[in-house]
Symmetry: D2
Subunit: 427 residues, 4 copies
């Protein structure tokens, strides 16, 4: 057996081809119509509309066998792909901002479905996992809070208080992605059931809160660089004595940290791979612009000006390296589980968004003013990727984790160095 590098199975090659055609010839062409069906940002019924085109695309994706591909093969509900295999396909979905939803592979539903699949009991699965996997409802995960530094999740203050057969939830959440969608039927809410537990990582629990429970107010949509990301949005939510059945506890009291950690591994890889797809598309848009024969400056197409070669090549080198890093993390997760892959996932999580922003920014610059406007997807891409340096843990948190892992090697290195000194002494 010779050593091999990164091979793709025939099944995934087939899915890749089908998905590429779907994304390129159905999803990307549908983007403008999707935008038009949404109506203007700021309009009165902004948060009541679901563009009909997305329903059509979902039907198509289901019929093409491109449905729920994200759920890893170790769940019985899974279509049977590994994380590496899905990663390859996820890149293609990332090329169009409507494709992931069309394939029922959009965040935050994917992470939430995995929570239900991994930690939910049968009743919870029947009530929520089923319609989520059917694509008939959507969901949100409510963690971040406005008054505390949520990058340290032990700061979360929302109270979840047992009261007979119920839990009562009270708190304020913000940046709850997906909660603006009229189809969003359920929230997974993180909060404290045991705020005085001396172990800070045992204070938190996750509960299931149906979106129509009394006491919930959708306060306002947050904007990302001026975009509201409707229909899903990023909402501020108030929970005022929201009463849910005690059976809506996930996994058990005090196990919130266990749940969010289990949830994030694959999700981070998905975000990264979609970003890679988006970077590839930005690079293609960049290439098209600078080779446009009608846009010469000083007697040359832009591509003939030396600077552009260095920008284009930098984007290519950046993308290719980052993709390999994510796929390696996915393969490690497949081979050894999410915990063993934690560090590799963290590296991808830091590298990919920064890389993608650089690639998009170069494309913007090559477009002049058109790059920041609405006729090209570049500025919107930039805004959405910028949030990835913050979401699911800011760069800084992941970087420190990577460093800690390296520093743990020091004692073994020091022992090895002592062996080398002994070897020198013998020479």
């Amino acid at each position: 057996m010779a050593s091999t590098f990164f091979q793709i199975s025939p099944r995934v090659e087939g899915l890749k081809k089908t998905l590429t055609d779907f994304v390129e010839l159905e999803c990307i062409p549908a983007e403008a119509l999707h935008h038009k069906q949404m109506g203007a940002q700021g309009s009165a019924d902004r948060w009541k509309v679901v563009p009909s085109v997305i329903g059509h695309l979902k039907t198509r994706a289901k019929s093409l066998g491109l449905w729920n591909l994200f759920l890893p093969s170790y769940y019985k509900e899974s279509p049977g792909l590994t994380n590496l295999e899905y990663g390859i396909l996820c890149e293609i979905m990332g090329r169009s901002h409507v494709a992931a939803e069309a394939c029922n592979c959009a965040a935050p539903d994917t992470g939430n479905m995995e929570v239900f699949a991994k930690y939910g009991n049968d009743a919870q699965k029947a009530q929520w996992l089923k319609p989520l996997m059917d694509g008939t409802i959507r969901s949100a995960f409510a963690m971040t809070e406005p008054q505390v530094a949520s990058s340290d999740a032990t700061n979360i203050e929302t109270r979840i208080v047992k009261d007979g057969d119920s839990y009562v939830v009270t708190g304020r959440k913000v940046w709850i992605s997906g909660a603006g969608d009229p189809r969003c039927a359920v929230y997974l809410v993180m909060g404290k059931t045991d705020p005085s537990n001396p172990n800070k990582h045992k204070q938190q629990s996750v509960v299931i809160v149906p979106a129509d429970t009394p006491g919930i107010t959708v306060v306002r949509p947050m904007t990302v660089f001026g975009y509201d990301d409707a229909p899903h949005g990023h909402m501020e939510l108030a929970f005022d004595n929201v009463r849910i059945p005690a059976s809506n506890m996930v996994l058990g009291e005090g196990r919130g940290f266990e749940i969010i950690q289990g949830r994030l591994g694959p999700g981070r890889i998905h975000h990264c791979m979609r970003a890679i797809g988006l970077a590839e598309r930005a690079l293609e848009i960049h290439l098209l612009r600078i080779t446009d024969p009608s846009r010469t400056a000083f007697g040359k197409t832009l591509s003939q000006h030396g600077k552009q070669s260095f920008d284009i090549a930098a984007s290519r080198m950046d993308i290719d390296q980052a993709r390999l890093l994510v796929l390696r993390a996915a393969a490690t997760m497949d081979a050894k589980g999410p915990k063993a892959a934690m560090n590799e996932i963290a590296m991808a999580k830091v590298v990919v968004p920064n890389m993608t922003l650089a690639v998009i920014d170069r494309a913007i610059q090559a477009h002049g003013a058109a790059g920041v406007g609405q006729d090209f997807p570049l500025a919107y891409m930039y805004a959405s990727v910028r949030t990835l340096r913050i979401a699911d843990g800011p760069d800084e948190v992941h970087t420190i984790q990577i460093a800690k892992q390296e520093l743990r090697r020091a004692p073994a290195l020091r022992a090895h160095q002592a062996n080398q000194l002994q070897a020198i002494a013998k020479l």
Copy 2:
């Protein structure tokens, strides 16, 4: 006489103090009200509203002697400041996005007023410069076109055809800043009067087009990372056989390049100095966030995490260097005129926006999701500064100009090297 470094006259010190109080205690506090009075982006009367608070601020600025300070001392209409002196004040205005307009020092009016002051005849001055300096109307400069690479201005295709006592203007313009404002009464339009002139820099002219002339359509507002920048906006405009009196020609046919070059020097410095002010404000917002005692993570305020020290110090070093670069360019323009300062202006034009984006981006990152949202001005700052890497010539054009200037030194350096070789031979 000892050598001296960068001193400020007592008059400017006084203005600085007055302006600082005005900006800090009147303009910045008015920003939220200004935003509220504008109504929601996408609303029906978006481009008909002028927030009343801006009228109030203008009255205040006039009464405080903070009016039209931008117009350099060599114009008889000037309040008498040098470019260096105004540069210092301009930084303070840049701290609030309403301050420049409040002081009648906002782009693109400033550049347009300078065109009228420098190149306009008495009739043109009476009709347009007077109300612009009074702040009763606003204006736009229509150069960029959608179908060509406008970074090379010889590509501009709009036709300006002489027809008896009139000129007839036909063409399509885009990204015309200020043209969305209901008070915008006049456009300066760049186009070709002599498209077959073998000297490509003689084909272009600039004409005065009243905004209410028949044949003009405001096609749509362009957005910048999702923001429409109302009330002034960045509009797409169609000129369809727009007939203006022949007396609306500025300076003379074929002198368009002369006008745009004369117009841009001070304007670029203004943009840069406002960006410096904005960078300082972003750094202050950054400092406030990371020292907020209520936002600890992992047991420390953010400022106690080592990474923040390096971000904060980087922002301080970046800002201080860039400011000195702009002020030097302003001083050179004062001492030797805009042409001699061209290279120093180009350096500032490249360095400052890139620097400011880095400073803002660090502040965004320290805020987490709040950094990209609407509760802090950071994302909006980022979007508006991003356009400065493109407007008035993209980074690439200025960089090449700077390099050309350096490369012109090569023959003298080669001669000098020959002298040194002779000196070596004698040793």
Copy 3:
């Protein structure tokens, strides 16, 4: 078959273990002795010494089966590893600057051996390939010239003139690595046999020149940041009517470009993989320093100062990405040949040296003055890797090649865009 990522065969796993032990416990401990046996830089017999320890290590490597591993499996003389497999091992050799030679896998011999194996006839192989593979002689490749921009190899001016049964070589070469070694017995010399050929890529040939041929002068050793890299060195050579038999032509007149292109693919990957090994070692040295309990500053070990975490993590992320990029290039070369891998090799060639310099520089900085001195290998590492941004084509040449490859995609992208527009029109 599930998709797999990067697997290593049992044979290579075994070699990896043997080689790691050899490098860590024999080569690295021998470095100081090697340095001592060389004598002082500048000493009279600097270029006559071969440190005896290297002979000992060569014997050891041969006995351990770590000999000539570099030669790819498609040569009959090969020990049978693919480029990917050798790449993995090459990283380990890169950790010590004596290991590659110990394993008879050092540049430029490796590239030269491949030239003989690929293009040499039987007589040439018997005379030169045999002793090179036995490790009894060494060799050099003489291409770069002092008077021309050698990054464009068509500029090479050395003349190779046919004269009866001989060729006569005249020219000046510089930076000829390995030519300082007393064991260097043969040069492959690139020069022009047909300088007036209208096809600039047919003017050049490569001939075999025994190092002891009359007319050759070793003019002087060049230094790299102050290091002379003895014993192999980088020499300036003068060829003054150097007469060699006509049978010393390699492959045929006018085929010089074919030879240098065939020679460089694997060699670039070797350089890159050795650099990765060196980067890993630099990172280990970095980790040891900042965790040294005896070197606290301001009450903490350096590793407890926040900045170091970001440096360490950056190095880890940089290395891991770059390694994957090189291994991908090696695997592509194995699967599709060097030509198909050209672009992937170019990416590695640009990315890896820049990355390695950054990793080493961070380690230097963490060491303070010790980092630039002779007690740690860091400064020497930096100097030797700095040359990799230049050798075998500077960054700029490779970058432009990568960009060209991207730009070639533009027509297909434009056709695809037309299809998408048609799809939009149908919605």
Copy 4:
């Protein structure tokens, strides 16, 4: 009085002209001879030679009035220049590595002379300041130690023990610049007189140690990227019971920190300004290379390849900004003293070396292999500037200081924000 920017007095203009001619036509041409007179690195009498050309240049500089210009005007021994004025001249000296010594303005003598001028008593001045200012002896400052993290000077361990009328010095020092010079007659040695003082900043003292005192061993020269920087060098020194008169204490016991802090302000500015001069020279060498008509690649001079324009312009922008930053620090030191300028000096100290390294590295890359070799001064420049990121406090220490200064503004900013909120409430 209008605001003015950076003006130079006629006297300094005159000195600038004289100095420029001296450096360009006498010092730079003497560099090769200086190198030749030194003999080969590694040679037996390496540390006994003083190149005679330096004596000649010193005589010339003295006669031209270019002597001791560094000593600030507030010392009675000063030739009367401010720090700003000397800064301007110091840049010119930085262009040649022999010029500063020729003008008796070389580190570490300058800092040591300032210590004697500022803190020395009359006897100490007569014995040491006089010959130093006459240029008849040289000196060194012995602070860094091999076994501790010397970036935190409280770690310094050398003992200075009172014994009757003597002090006895015992310890090990390393990287003692200038101590290799045969003319080096005196060391200022930092060590602990009171190691148990609870105030860590009171444990240290500085004493005067004549270089020929028994008990001193010059252990070895340290190298910087392979260069030994002879004749001055960077030596490792051993002090073994070195007995000096008690009158050799500077300022008083326990005042070591006061002395090193007073010494470093101007010295850092000198280092920075010399680095600026060196960066300018590197840029000139860069320009000469890429415009060399004999070095075309692919049919163009290098300057005609687009990438070079961006490199050249980057170097120009980087240099100009950094120079302004240093001169501002010098002017602040003149106006308000070194303590008030501490932060501005720290900024220059971080920015300038990093900038200079980038400028040199771009020049190296444009030269190909020649850039790292001995035929151009670039690699040596790089090595010597690399040490500036470490010497007199590493980047990290200065950066943290700059950040601390910024963070001190937070309470005032918070109070100001409260005022603004009140103003908002009133609208």
